[in-house]
């Protein structure tokens, strides 16, 4: 039987990994490659790596930690791919097919597209035709406005007219292979997923939905698996501050008989 996926998300801002709260407050965490190596050793099912920089400046600021300083996102992904023996989805400011091709060549397995897809639906189809639907994840950021779910673009800055269900269905029909569904309201709040949002979208589309936003305890993963038909549960902040976090999250779910892979620790090389 296919297992539900547990996916850590890393956020990169101008060369540093950061923790995010409500899409606007960021705290520095450290080297963009070292964290990936750890997540790989903790046998993560997958990794989502999102570049949330607002410009093209990348500087790791130091090179004394066993990793070289890098000044472009592609170079960082190349480094990441040498230590990540797991599938990687890469996203952030993807605007062209050439950019996707470069990311895949650098070692990404899938790309996550957000604002460009909202601005030009056909871009989803073009990417799917060139690289296959399985490679195209459409990321959807959602915020509640006057009691209604609305899709936002440009890193949560610009409101659109779409409801998440409408937009997810359109993305599917244009060739998206997966939906990464994120709640801006829950981002960094540690109060659990927006279960209604997840279920509304997951029951409507027939492509895998990855839940994101709000996890503050392992039980929040369980809640999403219990109450919704999402295919994967993802989180960012919770995985950062404890050793072997992914291992323990999996262990929690596995011992409660959730349909996940057994926890494991890998020694790479």
């Amino acid at each position: 039987m296919k297992k539900k996926r547990l996916i850590p998300i890393l956020l990169l801002k101008n060369g540093w990994l950061v923790q995010s709260k409500e899409f606007c407050r960021y705290q520095n965490l450290g080297n963009p490659v070292a964290a990936v190596k750890r997540l790989s050793q903790w046998a993560s099912d997958e990794l989502i790596y999102l570049d949330i920089s607002k410009d093209e400046t990348y500087d790791l600021r130091r090179d004394d930690q066993g990793y070289q300083n890098r000044h472009s996102f592609i170079d960082i992904i190349k480094d990441v791919s040498t230590v990540a023996f797991m599938p990687i989805t890469v996203g952030g400011r993807i605007r062209t097919l050439k950019h996707i091709k470069d990311l895949l060549s650098a070692g990404a397995d899938k790309v996550s597209i957000n604002s460009k897809a909202l601005a030009d639906k056909k871009f989803i189809t073009e990417a799917a035709k060139e690289f296959g639907s399985q490679c195209v994840v459409v990321s959807i950021d959602v915020k509640i406005v006057n009691g209604e779910y609305k899709v936002f673009s440009n890193g949560g800055l610009v409101s659109t007219d779409y409801t998440p269900v409408e937009w997810a269905s359109i993305a599917e029909s244009y060739g998206a292979g997966e939906i990464l569904l994120n709640s801006i309201d829950r981002d960094g709040m540690k109060n659990g997923y927006d279960i209604n949002l997840l279920e509304n979208v997951a029951e409507k589309v027939n492509i895998p939905v990855i839940a994101c936003g709000g996890v503050g305890a392992w039980s929040h993963f369980a809640e999403a698996l219990d109450k919704t038909s999402v295919d994967a549960v993802a989180a960012a902040n919770i995985f950062h501050y404890s050793d072997q976090s992914v291992y323990y999250a999996k262990k929690y779910l596995y011992e409660k008989n959730y349909n996940v892979r057994a926890p494991d620790i890998l020694s790479v090389n």
Binding site: E46, L104, P208, A232, R261, L266
Partner: protein, 202 residues
């Protein structure tokens, strides 16, 4: 084999972790010198076949595989193109090394693509699976499957809405629908097993 397929970096990375003796190439000489040949692949069947025909000297490759019996492994779309025909975005000719056709997975009400970790059910012994348990999980990401004409070419199946072929093999030719390069311990062991195959072994 380098033929412009998207993600070969990760296949290269894991092979390099196993042996220093890895080359990414489509050059005639390298194909002749190789002891083992791997065809990775992502994307659509037709696009992959076009690139393979344009970039790879197929006559030479076929010599090495059918005359010299070099072990060959196709991964994901690299496995699918072993079939005679593919039906993704129209009908396309495949390599035809494993008689069969490539069709959409009949996932029933489950989402497609089939993305994530799923287990194999082993139907017959294979040197690729040495040291691996039945029910071992591997990482899949695909919407199409290889339907083999001959039962004897099927090594393992995987359940997702239907029972599709996740490993096929015929003589020195092997194909896996999942991504061993992304399947951590089990994937690495499978690749190590493949690299241990000798030219004359089956």
């Amino acid at each position: 084999m380098d033929y412009g397929a998207g993600n070969i970096q990760s296949v290269y990375n894991i092979l390099l972790a196993i042996t220093p003796d890895v080359t990414v190439s489509n050059k005639l000489n390298d194909i002749k010198l190789a002891t083992h040949i791997i065809l990775p692949g992502v994307g659509a069947f037709g696009v992959a076949m076009d690139k393979i025909r344009n970039k790879i000297p197929l006559a030479i490759l076929e010599d090495e595989i059918f005359q010299n019996k070099k072990p060959f492994l196709g991964i994901c779309v690299g496995m699918q193109v072993l079939a005679t025909k593919g039906y993704e975005f129209g009908e396309h000719e495949g390599l035809g090394w494993i008689p069969g056709s490539v069709k959409k997975v009949n996932a029933d009400s489950l989402p497609l693509p089939h993305v994530g970790w799923n287990n194999i059910n082993i139907l017959r012994e294979s040197p690729l699976l040495k040291g691996l348990d039945d029910k071992q999980d591997f990482y899949f990401v695909h919407s199409y499957k290889l339907v083999a004409d001959n039962e004897s070419d099927i090594v393992a199946k995987t359940q997702y809405g239907e029972n599709f072929n996740s490993i096929v093999s015929r003589d020195n030719i092997f194909g896996v629908q999942f991504h061993p390069e992304k399947s951590q311990k089990a994937g690495r062991l499978l690749l190590e097993n493949f690299l241990k195959l000798q030219v004359e072994s089956r």
